[in-house]
């Protein structure tokens, strides 16, 4: 008869052996990650990685208020991963992508992140969406050592390498975007009285911080709306009463639509400028389309609106990236059409594949974080400006181009401009736009991470 203690001891030994095995499998990948791509056999180098698969997870609002548009992001990423898998995967491994619905509710985000990490045993979190939602799980992911790659939110929270060494931003943060948008507006509308229409949370505050750097002296009023309260008539009335003739909005798509609608009621026609987040032509257009009884036609309400972009737009049919993504969507997509949200998801997936390649043939969690830190700046993809990744910077894409919505598509008003947080100057990006590789899959060499 085996005593309880003996059984426990045996279990402990087995567990430590398993851990040692994992460690042993991991180390060579880091040590010879540099050159030995060809010869090394694939091993189960870390949690979520087997000889033939890599498992990544994500949390997105698939239902609820935030779902329009955002629910399409993971379908885009999924289609791209399926495309990569159909072409042999990454280093022979198929990417298994598991995404779950958090309904944009932080409590549910915590719950499904627990499931993803502890039960599904994902290797990394990819593109978890939303500031309030992802904030709820950042500490958990970092304490578990899970790479928390390319959060789908422009908050500055993801760029804190000391507190959250495993977390990386992806899209340009709201401050960078606000700065570039505001500089353009200050230069081109120097006489304008500026009103800000911002969401009352981190998104609005970060954007306002960037905008104030260039528009401070022109701002006549700041109106904040509370997400969830759809009656924003008083805010729009206040903008009008303050005489604002240029309104800069840091709002989500539903509230962009509501602000246009309320302005219509007041015959209020300022020049509008919206952050990229709330200016998706297709989505806002579809929200406004049914009000066309009367004089508004389709997205006509958005005609002339100034916004920014950091990815190619789905309406740019002659762009090589859009053509690639169209092909991917046609072959591997589900229901619906390719749209900007799916392009966003595919671009994130493209970034992840680059990072996975950079982490070498037998990636580890630690290895992929190091690989993004040292190689991320040089990743080439559909994004218009490079990433700002380094050991002490986890901020995403460095800049945006300012554009204008005309005739149902977007027309660039400026070159791609890049900057950084704080008082960093705004400069043209200086590099030509990248083009996809022949097979549409990144070709990143493993990074020497030392």
């Amino acid at each position: 008869m085996i005593s309880r203690t003996a059984r426990l001891a045996a279990a402990a030994v087995a567990a430590s052996l398993a851990l040692a095995a994992c460690g042993a499998g991991g180390r060579p990948a880091e040590e010879d990650g540099g050159g030995a791509t060809g010869g090394e056999a694939a091993t189960a180098s870390d949690v979520g990685i087997t000889e033939t698969t890599v498992k990544v997870g994500g949390h997105f609002p698939l239902t609820g208020v935030a779902a329009p548009g955002y629910a399409d992001i993971p379908t885009g990423a999924k289609a791209y991963f399926d495309y990569v898998n159909a072409n042999g995967g990454v280093n022979g491994r198929q990417i298994e992508y598991v995404y779950k619905d958090d309904a944009y509710n932080p409590t549910q985000t915590s719950q499904i992140t627990n499931e993803l990490v502890l039960q599904d045993q994902i290797f990394a979190m990819l593109g978890g969406l939303g500031t309030p939602t992802h904030s709820a799980v950042v500490d958990f992911l970092n304490s578990e050592g899970v790479p928390d790659l390319f959060v789908s939110s422009g908050s500055l929270l993801w760029d804190q390498p000391r507190e959250n060494p495993n977390t990386f931003g992806w899209q340009p943060d709201y401050e960078v975007e606000g700065k570039i948008l505001a500089q353009y507006l200050a230069q081109n509308f120097p006489q304008a009285k500026v009103g800000l229409f911002v969401q009352d949370d981190d998104f609005g505050r970060d954007g306002e911080k960037g905008a104030r750097q260039y528009l401070e002296s022109q701002i006549v009023t700041v109106q904040r709306y509370t997400p969830g309260n759809t009656d924003i008539a008083p805010q729009i009335a206040a903008l009008q009463a303050a005489g604002a003739d240029l309104v800069v909005g840091f709002a989500v798509p539903s509230y962009t639509a509501l602000s246009q609608l309320n302005a219509l009621r007041l015959n209020y026609k300022p020049q509008w400028a919206y952050s990229n987040v709330g200016a998706d032509l297709t989505l806002v257009g579809s929200l406004l389309a049914r009000f066309s009884e009367g004089a508004i036609t389709d997205a006509g309400l958005l005609e002339g609106v100034i916004s920014t972009s950091y990815l190619p737009n789905v309406t740019q049919k002659d762009n090589a990236w859009v053509q690639l993504f169209q092909k991917v969507w046609d072959e591997h997509g589900g229901e619906g059409e390719l749209n900007n949200f799916r392009i966003y998801g595919m671009s994130q997936a493209y970034t992840f594949v680059s990072a996975l390649q950079a982490a070498g043939p037998n990636p580890t969690r630690e290895g992929i974080v190091k690989a993004v830190e040292s190689g991320g700046k040089t990743f080439e993809g559909p994004w218009l400006a490079p990433f700002r990744f380094s050991a002490d910077k986890h901020g995403g894409i460095a800049g945006v181009a300012v554009n204008k919505i005309t005739g149902g598509t977007v027309t660039p008003l400026t070159d791609v401009l890049v900057t950084d947080n704080g008082s960093a100057p705004i400069t043209p990006v200086g590099t030509p736009p990248s083009t996809p590789t022949a097979n549409g899959i990144p070709d990143v060499q493993p990074v020497e991470t030392g």
């Binding site: 206040a238 639509a257 009000f291």
Partner: protein, 292 residues
């Protein structure tokens, strides 16, 4: 000045809708002593029915009519099938049942119609009037909203004051046993009360949706503010519900316009608590007199 005018006018139009919801709550409270927490969810559901018809190519008015008729049927069904069995038990049971209905309708709507924001057309122009070069936040559509609520309120007053049916409904609400002895079909009256309330609720749902975005929970805030309005008006009086609704609409609009939109829900709570502390029977109630 212009802002004050616009905040006032948007508050009035918003208040008209709170009035309609408050009216629906009052109708049910008067006849069955139940606060129907599912009122908003039922209205949301019939609004989606209207939207499906409009999307299928029918006119706004067909959609509105069908929404009202389905409200009538839904109200009667809910009373007969769900509420009747728990009536007569502890009062709390019926309230909990309406809460359950609230959750149920929202979930069902999310499954049937999707849970994302969609736009709901308006029957009239959404562009505001311009008076003497000043833009005012009052549109042909807001006139329609206010007129519709006024018509419904007058119709209800007429029904209760001047018709035999209204008298029977009032009687069965006041004293079921006596009414029954006098030959009033109390059960039918209760069902009719719920059905009428659901019609008024459906109207409020369609009115507030017009020219706005709807999702399965778009009525949540409206029904909470409608409840505050009903309490303000005394829960008993249809007139009180209307005045309460307009008051709440105006007050919340001022709070949002001058103090900040994040304070709206809090302000509603403050009003509710203040009313319950200072004048718990509401501004227009005769309940105290009746108890004597």
């Amino acid at each position: 000045m212009q802002q004050f005018l616009n905040v006032t006018l948007t508050g009035l139009a918003q208040g008209a809708v709170y009035s309609a919801i408050a009216l629906a709550l009052v109708l049910i409270w008067r006849s069955t002593r139940i606060v129907n927490f599912a009122q908003g969810a039922m209205a949301m559901f019939t609004t989606y029915i209207a939207l499906s018809l409009i999307e299928a190519g029918q006119s706004y008015w067909v959609g509105l009519l069908v929404a009202l008729v389905s409200g009538l049927v839904l109200g009667a069904l809910v009373e007969r099938v769900v509420v009747r069995p728990v009536e007569g038990g502890p009062e709390l049971n019926a309230v909990i049942v309406t809460l359950g209905l609230f959750v149920g309708f929202q979930a069902l709507a999310a499954i049937l119609f999707g849970s994302t924001f969609v736009s709901f057309p308006a029957p009239f122009d959404l562009r505001g009037f311009t008076v003497g070069g000043v833009n005012i936040a009052f549109t042909p559509n807001s006139i329609f909203v206010i007129a519709a609520v006024v018509v419904v309120m007058l119709a209800l007053v007429a029904l209760f004051r001047f018709t035999n049916l209204g008298l029977q409904m009032r009687a069965s609400a006041f004293s079921q046993e006596v009414s029954r002895l006098l030959g009033v079909r109390v059960g039918a009256m209760l069902t009719l009360g719920w059905a009428l309330a659901a019609v008024v609720g459906s109207l409020a749902g369609v009115l507030i949706a017009g020219g706005n975005l709807v999702s399965p929970n778009y009525m949540d805030a409206v029904v909470v503010f409608g409840f505050v309005a009903a309490v303000l008006g005394g829960l008993e009086s249809p007139g009180g519900a209307v005045v309460g609704g307009l008051t709440i609409g105006l007050l919340l609009s001022y709070v949002s316009g001058y103090l900040g939109s994040e304070l709206v829900a809090l302000a509603a709570l403050v009003i509710l608590v203040a009313v319950l502390l200072v004048r718990p029977q509401g501004l227009f109630s005769h309940a105290a007199a009746r108890r004597v």
